[in-house]
Amino acid sequence: MTNFDEERFIQLTRDGDYDAFNRIVAEYQDAVFAVVLRTVRNRAAAEDITQDAFISAFRKIASYRGGVFRAWLFRIAKNASLDYLRKMSRRPETSIDEDIVYFSETVRDDSADPLADALNAELARLIEDCLGGLSDDHRLAMVMVDVEGYQYDETADSIGVSIGTIKSRINRARARMRDCVQQQPELLPASMRL
């Protein structure tokens, strides 16, 4: 992070400075997009939601009252994502499954073994499938904490629930993920096989 004075950019944004806000966008767009994509599991929709979230953040910047700015951004994006999922769930003619974009990224492995890479790709897909099988709330919590590595407090602030609720959701989500990945034990590392 070089020369990123968030407070100053926020203040400039309050004054209507688009360039300052776009510095903020550049800083956080990957993080926001990643959480949105893993929540809605549709790349086109995730792009629209992320764009709308930033536009909404710019318009609502006056309502930002301090705290972790990234969490505030995540909250806007999270609300938009959950709204999208609700909307989709009420339109049975549009199947989310058909729109799933499997993530190109694989589980990172330092080995240069092609077979290991292939297995890792399969494992990544399995994990993404299992993530998709979680409830929206559990998936969002797990994506933020276990995948993206945010702290409990920031995740709680972003989602708008207590830390205890986040811990509870994480606990249940991990248990369900464990049960899910165990259904394809051949893809799992030895340490994950029961």
């Binding site: 997009f33 536009i55 609720t165 991990r174 990945v181």
Partner: protein
């Protein structure tokens, strides 16, 4: 179970959940380690289970990051387009958007307003709540017209046309002519009209004039003949006893707006098949209620105004709630 429910209700997490999470993440405190070790001793399968979850967490942490393939920088045009695309409903919805827990606020408002309307209505029916005073001048003219029109209409056909209640203003222009109708025979129906008027507005009856005056008037109307009724219509007292009583009635009904309210109520009762038709129409209804409140013992409130406003609030809140759901795609 109860403890778990309460913990969930108040956002607290079971200590076991805390301990397991911390253990899996590798940052358990001494107490948490002790608790987990104890659990592992009690349930040998738990150790493997926790090891699996630790490995899973490691894999999740190694999933490659996602990079956006495009920039999400915004432009003034984008913001302007977003502003212009917002409907009135979405603007309303946005008021509640940051606080999703307030999404049901419109329904709460609607429920409260509807409940208040219901309570006011019940209070009105039971007499606990009464209509407070309203501008008497606004209906005095129509009430006078109603007094004048009462005799010929009732005498001519028993039950008068419902339009009387609505057209009292027009009748006001020719009260004398109406009152001089030659065939305005006074029958028991006349008496009934006034009696019903008294029933509909018992309080104003007392407020406007001594009861005995009206009773006398009733007697006169009951036993009078056509000529006497014609004289009563002209409001010219004669030497006869009946005419004297008619003069009393004239005195009783002329001076104040309260009396006019009574008369208006009486017409409303006699016309349009009862009090509903007359009393429900605009000023006549307001007059009856206003007069009723004048002498009542209940709480005085601008009742029908409140009911209308609250009903409008309830409808608006329901509309806002529905719009909110639509905007959110719920």
């Amino acid at each position: 179970m109860i403890r778990k429910f309460l913990n969930q209700l108040f956002g607290r997490t079971d200590p076991v959940t805390y301990a397991i999470n911390a253990y899996i993440e590798g940052n358990a405190s001494a107490d948490e380690m002790k608790l987990v070790e104890q659990m592992k001793r009690d349930d040998p399968a738990l150790e493997k289970d926790l090891a699996t979850q630790q490995a899973l967490l490691g894999v999740l942490g190694r999933i490659g990051g996602i990079e956006a393939h495009r920039s999400f920088a915004i432009t003034p045009e984008m913001v302007a387009a977003a502003e212009s695309s917002r409907s009135a409903v979405s603007k309303l919805a946005e008021l509640f958007a940051p606080q999703r827990k307030l999404a049901l606020a419109p329904m709460v408002v609607a429920g409260f307003a509807a409940l208040t309307v219901a309570l006011l209505t019940i209070g009105d029916i039971t007499g606990v709540v009464e209509q407070s005073g309203i501008d008497d001048d606004s209906f005095s003219i129509s009430a006078i017209a109603a007094v004048s029109a009462a005799a010929p209409e009732v005498g001519g056909g028993g039950i008068a046309e419902p339009e009387i209640a609505d057209e009292t203003a027009a009748s006001a222009a020719q009260p004398a002519a109406a009152a001089r109708a030659p065939d305005s025979g006074v029958t028991a129906e006349d008496s009934g009209a006034i009696d019903e008027g008294q029933d509909a507005g018992a309080a104003p009856t007392q407020a406007a004039a001594p009861p005995q005056e009206l009773e006398s008037a009733d007697a006169t109307l009951e036993f009078g003949d056509d000529d006497e009724v014609a004289k009563r219509g002209e409001l010219i007292p004669e030497d006869s006893e009946e005419s004297a009583v008619a003069a009393q009635l004239q005195e009783a009904i002329e001076p104040g707006p309260e009396t006019e309210s009574i008369t208006s109520s009486g017409i409303g009762s006699d016309t349009g098949e009862g009090a509903g038709a007359g009393a429900a129409d605009g000023a006549t209804a307001g007059a009856a209620r206003g007069a009723t409140a004048g002498a009542g013992d209940g709480i005085e409130l601008p009742l029908w105004q409140l009911q209308i406003v609250l009903a409008a609030i309830a409808l608006a809140a329901i509309g806002a709630w529905a719009g909110l759901r639509r905007v959110r795609g719920e």
